[in-house]
Amino acid sequence: MSFLAGLLLLPLLTAGLLYVVPDHRWVGGIAAGGSLATLAAGLAVVVRVFGGGPWRAGFFYVDALGAFMVGCIVGVAALANLYSHGYFHRSLGDGSLSLQRFRGYHLWFQVFVASMLLVVTVANLGVMWAAMEATTLASAFLVGFSGSQGALEASWKYIVICTVGITLALFGVILTYYASFHLRGPGVPSLDWLTLRDEAGELNPGLLRLGFIFILVGFGTKVGLAPMHTWLPDAHSQAPSPVSGLLSGVLLPTALYGVLRFHLLLVKDLGPAYSSHLLLLFGLVSMGVAVPFILLQGELKRLLAYSSLEHMGVVTFAVGLGTRLAFYGAALQLLAHALAKSLLFFCAGNIMEKYGTQKLPKIAGLVGTLPWTGPIFLLMVLAVAGMPPFGLFLSELTILRAGFAGGAAMVTVIFLFLLAAVFAGLAFYAGRVALGKAGSNVPRGEPVRWFPYLSLAPLLALLFLGLGIPGPLTAGLSQVAAVLGGVTP
């Protein structure tokens, strides 16, 4: 209990410290320290759970899936936090960003991380719902941080659409609760995950089915499943790049985590047919909706956002396939997505800093002007499009293998076709942006000098995921797949 609570408290404490800190110049240091401490604590949780099985501690319950999410969240959060310093370096320097506001940024940042951690560690699905709503509220300020009209518009859409979605999801939670209530009578009904999971087989199917519709539409909004995805490109494109990375890399998967918990209940109660088919459908629709926007796109971060939409579609599809291999692929995809996409958004931050715009037609010759970011960007875009030697190639191949093995050949062929279409769009823009001739007003050099060192960690990790996944990690991912397969240890 205490350790898990500590994991949550660390970012909150950091936020509190930031709030009371007398000298605003310490903000950066405190934030970075807090994030690194959270990273360490999070990794400790991951090691503990992967090594010793699910961890039940009072209010909290962390199984392999939860620990996996914790690992992703703390990892990407630490990277994003460190990158924030580089990202805001210039605006802090020239006074366009006050230290006061910088403090506000970090404060919300920590609250945001804490709320996401709460989502994936808490045992009670009702609280999980509340935490999910809290992630929206905390990140709304981060999305609108720049204060521009675009940012305002994006954050308003973000907050309204996601709040509506989450509100609908609550209805699903209530129905689930009612199902438990109906089973057990008043007094002992529960939203506790373990209790629900154990009694899942006996819950009323009609209720769960109706509830899942609301959960899927509700949390699905937050995942960015089409056609509820509409906030996603706006928010990702207008948020500061570190926040975009965080949103794309871990917030969407965190929301998906919410869907998956309920999906597991349904699978146990109703068999795989119902919710799995819905997930397959929404996965494919999300990928399909992303395609035209990736093929024709005018803005850098919107392009990346649609790619995230597509990735969420891939993962949803994989979960919908419902086999262990597919779950493994989904987990690998989530991990690689978190690394690659956050790195890409950081690159996008550098690019926007360099070119002063995110309009794709105005960006060219990255490889020449940004000697490190440019090549990394090109490679990473191709990586998220599914090129080896990076992890996403293997994860997508695994999912495809599972798709064909699961007998869903036609659906898998559609899936493959959509992947290829997305690939075409991403490859086109990657080439156009990275190659070509930059304007003479763009000097050569990296805006964030230590970015190469920061990017090395996710880059190498991705490479390892593609070339050969280390044994312990394979074991961990298999555990995640086992949880998704409904295996109770």
Partner: protein, 215 residues
């Protein structure tokens, strides 16, 4: 008692329907606070019937947060943004809106059948209304262009939700309810802040002016 809660829920549904048709800020705020008030009463009634002390707390919280605090915040935001005047925005006409709302209500009644089929009298009497209110709240959000009225739509949704939880299970676990209230309050506050920023940036509460981000 059950009949009373049922009647209250019908009244709440009527509030929601009137909100579908109403466009004025003041009358809308009044309608939503009335709905919240009815909800608080219903909460207290259910708590009484179930002998549930926490239920009274929830009723008081509902009254304080939804019927008092939030309408107050909305008034405050409206005052700050001061865009009550001016020609009304072009929206779906009340007649059409009500027609669609009627269809939505029918769908909600039908969809609630898995729940009503299982539950007792209370559920049968009020759960369909709760679900209708939830969906109507969303419909209000779609029909209204003003940011302020959209917040009200969200409130209607919340009320529908709360009513459904109340009638189905006599309320959610305390920790969840606390979370819900907190989220709601913070949410409305944040939305209020954003509304005033929107007015500052776009000189209007009309959210249709937020259309720069496309494609």
């Amino acid at each position: 008692m059950v009949n009373l809660v049922g009647s209250l829920s019908v009244l709440m549904l009527l509030c929601a329907l009137s909100l579908v048709a109403l466009r004025r800020y003041n009358s809308s705020i009044v309608a939503v606070s009335l709905q919240s008030l009815l909800l608080a009463v219903a909460t207290a009634l259910v708590a009484h019937a179930m002998g549930n002390r926490e239920g009274y707390l929830a009723a008081i919280l509902t009254l304080a947060v939804k019927a008092v605090a939030i309408p107050f915040i909305l008034h405050w935001v409206k005052g700050r943004t001061d865009s009550g005047g001016g020609p009304p925005l072009k929206e779906l006409s009340p007649g059409w809106a009500l027609l669609v709302a009627g269809l939505v209500v029918i769908l909600a009644y039908q969809s609630a059948s898995p729940v009503t089929a299982l539950g007792g009298v209370l559920i049968r009497a009020s759960f369909p209304q709760a679900m209708s209110i939830l969906l109507l709240g969303l419909f209000i959000l779609i029909v209204r262009r003003s940011a302020l009225l959209q917040i009200i739509g969200l409130l209607v949704m919340e009320n529908g939700l709360y009513l459904s939880a109340l009638t189905a299970t006599g309320g959610m676990p305390v920790v969840v309810e606390m979370g819900m209230f907190l989220d709601l309050l913070v949410g409305v506050l944040i939305m209020g802040v954003f509304s005033s920023r929107i007015v500052g940036a776009f000189r209007s509460l009309d959210t249709d002016r937020l259309h720069k981000l496309k494609g």
